[in-house]
């Protein structure tokens, strides 16, 4: 049933028939005030199509995490607006924003994604539990099998490897059929082999489910697998590249960092 709904889309290129999943208009983020004001993000505008897989790259401190926080509604822009689907989330606040995030946004952190006292299954269904909804068992089974943790549902996070923990985090980010899934260096805490495996999984799932994904990464090879790489430098957009090779991306990055 689900599979029928989520026909794998083309690997490259943006489906012409899809709408905009995420739009940032002249977004600015400042920290602090007065002379100590730091502009972490300045005048960033971008739009991402539904089902697109986007990588964000840039030197350390360039504002990648800040961008993700604003785009996902975890933080509010100082200026500008953010739309997720057709909702202007910069206009939402308090419980309405929380609820919107719960239902329409998925997030995968670098580490500490899971609550230690909850079982794997509870961790995955946590957004549903919090929304007072019950999990669709077929969907849960599909997801957990897809990320390869179907046999670990009753374990606790401490009993999982780092790679397994990130797979659980992926399943949780997807459980509520979110508009966009954000991932901030989701494999930054893993060794390169398990990192590659987790990223492959994320990428294939996204394609299979036509899931919009925005991911911050430092790995040019990972970035090369995405449809579009957006580069940030000093809080500003520094360009983008569609379908570049790892070598090209790496070169561009070296240029930015110089």
């Amino acid at each position: 049933m689900r599979k029928a709904e989520h026909q794998p889309a083309g690997v490259t290129g943006v489906p012409a028939n899809s709408g905009i999943a995420l739009r940032l208009d002249s977004v600015q983020k400042q920290y602090g005030s007065g002379p100590a004001t730091l502009t972490a993000l300045n005048n960033v505008s971008l739009a991402l199509y539904q089902g697109s897989f986007t990588a964000i790259m840039g030197p350390s401190g360039s504002g990648k995490s800040t961008l993700l926080h604003l785009a996902s509604g975890l933080d509010k822009p100082t200026r500008g607006s953010v739309h997720v689907g057709s909702t202007d989330i910069s206009q939402l606040s308090g419980d309405r924003l929380t609820q919107f995030r719960r239902d329409h946004v998925g997030f995968i952190f670098q580490a500490y994604n899971l609550l230690p006292t909850l079982s794997v299954e509870q961790n995955i269904t946590l957004p549903l539990i919090l929304g007072g909804k019950s999990a669709d068992n077929a969907w849960l089974e599909y997801l957990t099998n897809a990320v390869g943790i179907g046999a670990l549902l009753n374990r606790r996070p401490a009993e999982l490897s780092g790679g397994q923990q990130q797979r659980v985090a992926i399943a949780r980010a997807l459980i509520s059929h979110p508009e966009v899934v954000f991932a901030d260096e989701p494999t930054g805490a893993l060794d390169s082999r398990s990192a590659r495996a987790v990223l492959d999984l994320l990428w294939h799932l996204a394609r299979e489910l036509n899931q919009t994904i925005v991911m911050v990464t430092h790995d040019p090879v990972v970035a090369a697998a995405s449809q579009r790489v957006i580069f940030l430098a000093d809080g500003q957009l520094a360009g983008y590249r569609d379908g570049g090779t790892a070598a090209e991306i790496s070169d561009f990055m070296t240029g930015l960092e110089a």
Binding site: S65, F107, S119, A158, R172
Partner: protein, 844 residues
């Protein structure tokens, strides 16, 4: 290689300890707070103890005398604390004469102090000769010589030279003529000045109880003779007296401070012990929580090659630094606490006003040493468990593993539980006061047992709760359920100390409530007279009793005098002395006015000389049967060998020792009766009551009579309530600290929840459920600990296994358990203040 890993250099160790403490300030807060509070408590209690032994009064009226001589005020028992007599002891026959005859004595002046009243207001009378002790002079008129003469203070507001003044002694009025005025007495700092009058020496002696001799002599030395030399001289020349010199003279002047001293010593020593015991558990709880949070650090240290021994010495080093710092900081507030306790004690009459505390450095020093040592011993035990953990085990062992208890601890806990339950049940077999003592000790045994087994029991409780919560789908409940079953250790760390506090509180308050309640019931059931007449503060002289007896309509009169008696007996081969409330009754009229629930013998036999009746419990303790001879010391310490003529059941209400009224009054300071029970001709009841009220007496319903046996306990029970309050405060502080620390540690968890989409309300409701669970478990466990002991005591005292508790016990349960809710609520609010991304975000 091996050599390198065997020892970390001292500098390196110091560095690791310092950074360890700095990085884990939160988790050390628990140890810091419980050590700090323990040192404050023990310093304060130490000062109280030392003051009981050495503090007291500066002499006021006796400050000019070199040596004060009194009768022997205590009987020293080998291997036991001295028993201090409640009434002033008599001087041996001829003591005054033999002291006067000493060649280094300048003068010997007898001192009499008598309580009179002027229209219900207190007036203190002394003999005229005592003015030369206090250096008071006659300012006008003449000194009192006749029985009806009185000299008043020059600034007396109510009486002037030539006036006639009506002063009552024990309710019997007498008219005096003011024949002179005297200068002001030496002023005392603490107490309010009392209205003072002087009678002739003969008149004063006539109003004194007993054999009308002075019980205190002020002795002045000849020039050049020191007070100490004179005192030593007196001791050899007039054996059987107590001498007081210097500051000690205050003890003789304020004899009622003696009881206060005993209270202070008991208070300081018994609650010092309890405080240390509690500190032990609290520090252990705080430490295992703290070490648990740092298991990963320890594992890392183990991985890079530290031995368990090194780890242990690191932990001990940290704990030493933290507890020593807390200890040093706690000393100052400890002395402050002592000062506060002193004020509370004196405003509640446990020590008379003006009683001075001794402030020496010793209580502070010993408190720090004792507490730090205790903490280190506990730390050594707790650290052993954590330091032995293998590196891999520590890295994988999650915070969700259930609490594991050592076999030794488990077995000790189980044995103590068994012993506690057995001791609670002992009243089924035992009788007498031992039947109260055993369950009271059982309470303590069970409390220690819970301290040992607590984490296991709390874990079981949590999983029981979990089963109740499991079916719910409400987000807060689901989360709380997962957290509690997944982290029983965290809950146990809060539940166990709270339960200990509740258990301790219930046993202490419950015991005194059960006894007080039973005493009141005994009085209510036991007084059968029509009317109860009292004269609060002033009592009844023989004359006053006669006038009541002569009142038309009074058919039967039983005057009751109250004091304290000491029963000396041989217990388990050792001499022992126990003090009990003593009542003196009219043996012939008593049966018509009071029902002591006589079990054997007859109260009428008390009219024979040297006879005594005892409550069945006390008779049993003393091992005495009807017709046996009992060694009794009366109020002033006079020993008599009395034949046991009756045993009765209502000792708690009326006093455990009963003798004839004359015998009691002959050995009290005042020689007065305390209350009068009368039966009246029913048709003249109102008339009698009105007449007695007019005479200044209080006429009441006999059922309102205060229980005599419980009276002496009321001061003790105030003291123990106060101590309880302090100790519960200590437990509360430590628990609040533990909960706040444990909750703040969950900031990241809260942040994650919020990022995933939980709102603040859901987090509050999750925490509220956890808090309520802690509160309920603590209450249930606390009650479970206290109940067997209380049931045992209740059975021993009243024959009812269901304890009759005061509302105070409910307050203890309520306050202690709501602490959990308040602390968690507060800490949750704090933990939620930071924005969730700042807390976790994706930067770590």
């Amino acid at each position: 290689m091996k050599d390198q890993s065997a020892s970390i250099s001292t500098d390196g160790r110091k560095m690791i300890i310092k950074s360890g403490i700095r990085q884990h300030l939160g988790s050390f807060a628990g140890i810091f707070v419980s050590t700090l509070a323990a040192v404050i408590l023990l310093t304060g209690l130490g000062v109280v103890l030392e003051s009981g032994l050495r503090g007291g009064y500066d002499p006021v009226r006796y400050s000019a005398a070199d040596v004060i001589v009194g009768g022997q005020q205590s009987s020293a028992l080998p291997e036991d604390l001295a028993v201090v007599f409640p009434e002033q002891a008599a001087l041996p026959q001829g003591a005054a004469d033999s002291i006067s005859a000493l060649n280094n004595v300048a003068k010997v002046i007898p001192d009499f102090t008598i309580q009179l009243s002027d229209n219900g207001a207190a007036v203190t009378a002394h003999n005229w000769a005592s003015t030369s002790i206090t250096n008071q002079n006659l300012l006008s008129g003449k000194m009192p010589q006749q029985a009806g003469d009185v000299v008043v203070g020059a600034s007396d507001p109510h009486a002037h030279l030539g006036d006639s003044l009506v002063l009552s002694h024990g309710g019997a009025p007498a008219t005096y003529t003011v024949v002179g005025t005297a200068s002001e007495p030496p002023s005392s700092s603490g107490s309010a000045p009392e209205r003072q009058v002087f009678l002739s020496d003969e008149a004063a002696a006539a109003l004194t109880g007993g054999d009308h001799d002075a019980k205190t002599l002020a002795v002045f030395a000849k020039d050049g003779v020191s007070a100490q030399t004179l005192a030593a001289n007196i001791q050899t020349q007039a054996p059987g007296v107590d001498t007081y010199t210097g500051k000690d003279r205050g003890t003789a002047e304020f004899l009622d401070a003696g009881a206060g001293r005993g209270t202070l010593v008991a208070f300081g020593s018994s609650f010092g012990g309890t405080a240390l015991l509690i500190a032990l558990f609290l520090v252990a709880a705080a430490l295992s929580l703290s070490l648990h949070q740092r298991q990963r650090d320890f594992a890392l240290l183990r991985t890079i090659g530290s031995t368990p021994g090194q780890l242990r010495s690191l932990i001990l080093g940290e704990v030493f630094v933290v507890s020593a710092a807390a200890g040093v900081i706690g000393v100052g507030p400890g002395y402050l606490l002592a000062q506060i306790l002193k004020n509370v004690f004196s405003s509640n009459g446990l020590i008379p006003p003006g009683f001075a505390f001794t402030f020496s450095p010793w209580p502070g020093i010993s408190a720090v040493v004792l507490v730090v040592l205790t903490v280190l011993v506990v730390a050594n035990i707790v650290a052993a468990r954590f330091s032995k953990v293998s590196p891999i085990q520590a890295l994988t062992e999650s915070s969700t593993t259930p609490a594991k208890l050592g076999t030794g601890r488990l077995i000790t806990g189980i044995v103590l539980t068994g012993a506690g339950l057995l001791a609670s049940a002992s009243p089924l077999l035992l009788h007498g006061t031992a039947a109260i003592a055993a369950p009271a000790a059982a309470g303590l045994l069970l409390i220690v047992a819970v301290g040992l087994l607590g984490p296991k029991i709390a874990g079981a409780g949590v999983s029981m709760f979990g089963r109740l919560l499991r079916t719910s789908r409400t987000p807060g409940v689901v989360l709380a359920h997962a957290n509690s079953t997944g982290n029983a250790r965290r809950l146990a760390a809060a539940v166990v100390p709270l339960a200990l506090g509740i258990g301790l509180g219930l046993v202490q308050l419950g015991t005194s409530a059960i006894v007080a309640n039973e005493a009141q019931v005994q009085v209510q059931d036991g007084i059968t007279a029509n009317l109860l007449v009292t004269n609060p503060g002033f009592g009844f002289s023989a004359k006053a009793v006669e006038s009541i007896k002569a009142t038309s309509g009074v058919t039967v009169l039983n005057a009751v005098a109250v004091s304290g008696a000491t029963i000396e007996s041989i217990q388990f081969g050792d001499p022992s002395a126990e003090q009990y409330a003593l009542q003196g009754i009219d043996p012939l009229t008593a049966p018509a006015t009071m029902d002591l629930a006589v079990k054997m013998g007859s109260l009428a036999d008390l009219q024979n000389p040297l006879t005594v009746a005892l409550s069945t419990d006390v008779a049993q303790d003393a091992g005495a049967k009807l017709g046996d001879t009992v060694n009794v010391r009366l109020g002033d310490g006079t020993p008599i060998k009395a034949k046991l003529v009756a045993t009765y059941g209502r000792g708690l209400g009326f006093g455990a020792v009963t003798v004839s009224n004359d015998l009691v009054r002959a050995h009290t300071n005042t020689g007065l009766d305390t209350q009068v029970l009368i039966n009246v001709d029913p048709s003249k009841s109102d008339q009698v009551a009105a007449g007695l009220s007019n005479a200044g007496f209080v006429v009441g319903d006999p059922h309102t009579a205060a229980a005599q046996g419980a009276k002496t306990r009321s001061a003790d029970s105030f003291a123990s309530s106060l101590a309880l309050f302090i100790i519960l405060g200590y437990v509360g502080l430590a628990v609040v600290n533990t909960l706040v620390v444990a909750t703040l540690e969950r900031r990241r968890e809260f942040a994650l929840l919020r990022l995933i989409g939980s709102n603040v309300r859901q987090i509050y409701s999750m925490m509220a459920i956890e808090a309520v669970m802690i509160a309920i478990l603590a209450a249930v466990l606390g009650v479970a600990v206290a109940f067997p002991a209380l049931a045992g005591i209740s059975f021993a005292v009243s024959g009812q296994p269901w304890p009759n508790l005061s509302s105070g016990t409910l307050v203890v349960i309520g306050v202690m358990s709501s602490l959990a809710v308040v602390a968690i609520g507060f800490a949750t609010t704090l933990a939620l203040r930071a924005s969730p991304i700042a807390e976790i975000g994706s930067r770590e």
